[in-house]
Amino acid sequence: MKLHVAGLPEDPAALPGWLEGHLVGLDLAALVAELEAIRGTPADGPALREVLGSQFDAVLTAGLDGLPAEALRRLLVRPRLLLDLQELVLGSGSDYWDRVARPAAEHAAEVDRVRARLEASLMPEGRATAPGGPAGPRRPAWGRRPWLVGLAAAAALLLAFLASQPRQSARGWGWDRPDALPRSGPPDAYLNGLADAAGEWFNKVPEDRSALADRILDLRRGCSVLLRAEHRPLSGPDRAWLLGRCRAWASELDGLLAEAEAQDEPRGPSELRRGRPPRRADPG
């Protein structure tokens, strides 16, 4: 893990430029966290506008070079002001802030990736997909949340985790609840309801491998419910996306169930993780 505060320049004249680079880069939050770790979270103090004083407009148009040393010191001593300053200059700053520093490779790459995904999402149907971007319709933002995409990964971890919890009834909970899939309502509410229902499976931990197999069966049954449901509140593309995820989960759960039912000892969590690619939000 890089220690950003270690780059604090020893030459005071270089401090404004160093801070400017962080304001337009991707690591400001990390720097703020480090500064707070070193100095502690300070008590409330002057707001950003007061700290910048008469230099407020000049900062927006010409950067931090004109700030007096005391103002720079106050930004370091109360580092959350740097977050306020970032929002100010990025949202309202002049073109100066586009020329401050060349973006780091990581920053440029991230911007390019999002551009490719955006272009692919907006392309008229039938056009070629932009390189590096996903094809097909826009995915609902909620669907890329790690909690939903990682549902099957969480089930894999349950396979190796033992705890003393009472068994939950196999019927009528999670997506198998009679009221889990309403037939009307706004799409966001529908999808959030699915997420809430899914949460029930994580509230109880199986006490042994037999109970674990039952839990995986419950999850698998829930997937089957989703696969057979109409999902009326959802649009065509959203429905297609959800069903695609369900089929992927169903396949993984089938494999996990086979492992839970096997006579051999199950893999431990670290082994499961090594055998499974890192999960991240669905790229769409």
Binding site: A6, E10, V24, A33, H107, V114, L118, P124, R144, R145
Partner: protein, 196 residues
């Protein structure tokens, strides 16, 4: 690239007006898309930097894409001229607030923390989420420093130079310099799991 003949460097407002055009069926033209992507090229770098302090890295690209998709969808009826960037940032802030609220509803969210719930007054919805682990890790390492080294580190993060720090701690500037660099080297090796 000229979006329209005779407009060599169109303003954001002009590009947004083109990007907002849809036919009677709601379909956008290639020209609208190109205008929108030109807006993206102008503002995405800053927006990514802004989001880097608002949402975790794992979700950043998704929220970033969502912000632009919301802008695309909102342009025809939601943007009425003026400062496009300010409008875009308003959309993005609202998205971030919604994202934070949704995240803290999930009982199994890995870093759900009652202290980090969005302030209902909206004053600082992401205050508790900023790089919490990094901070805790560095705090752990700082506890291993001796008092003099910690004092030098703290003084440097006030923006003081060694010729100012030395007298404050009863050291020469050179001694303060040496102490500081040793402490920094230790911390570099300690954070992220080293030095346990």
């Amino acid at each position: 690239m000229d979006i329209e003949a005779g407009v060599p460097d169109p303003s954001d407002e002009h590009l947004a007006e083109i990007a907002a055009r849809r036919d009677t069926g709601g379909t956008a033209s290639r020209e609208s898309l190109e205008a929108f992507l030109r807006l993206y090229d102008r503002h995405a770098r800053r927006l990514a930097a802004f989001l880097s302090s608002q949402v975790p890295e794992a979700d950043r690209e998704d929220v970033h894409q969502e912000a632009w998709l919301s802008a695309w969808n909102g342009l025809p009826d939601g943007f009425h001229g003026g400062n496009f960037r300010a409008w875009l940032y308003t959309i993005t802030r609202n998205l971030v607030t919604d994202w934070v609220r949704r995240r803290h509803r999930r009982p199994w969210s890995s870093d759900a923390d009652p202290d980090a719930r969005p302030d209902p007054r909206g004053s600082d919805p992401v205050a508790g989420m900023i790089e919490r682990e990094r901070k805790m890790d560095l705090e752990r390492c700082l506890k291993k420093l001796d008092a003099a080294s910690l004092s030098v580190i703290r003084a440097r993060t006030e923006g003081l130079v060694f010729r100012e720090i030395g007298p404050r701690l009863g050291l020469s500037p050179r001694q303060a310099n040496t102490l500081y660099h040793r402490a920094v080297n230790f911390l570099k090796g300690c954070v992220g799991g080293g030095g346990r």
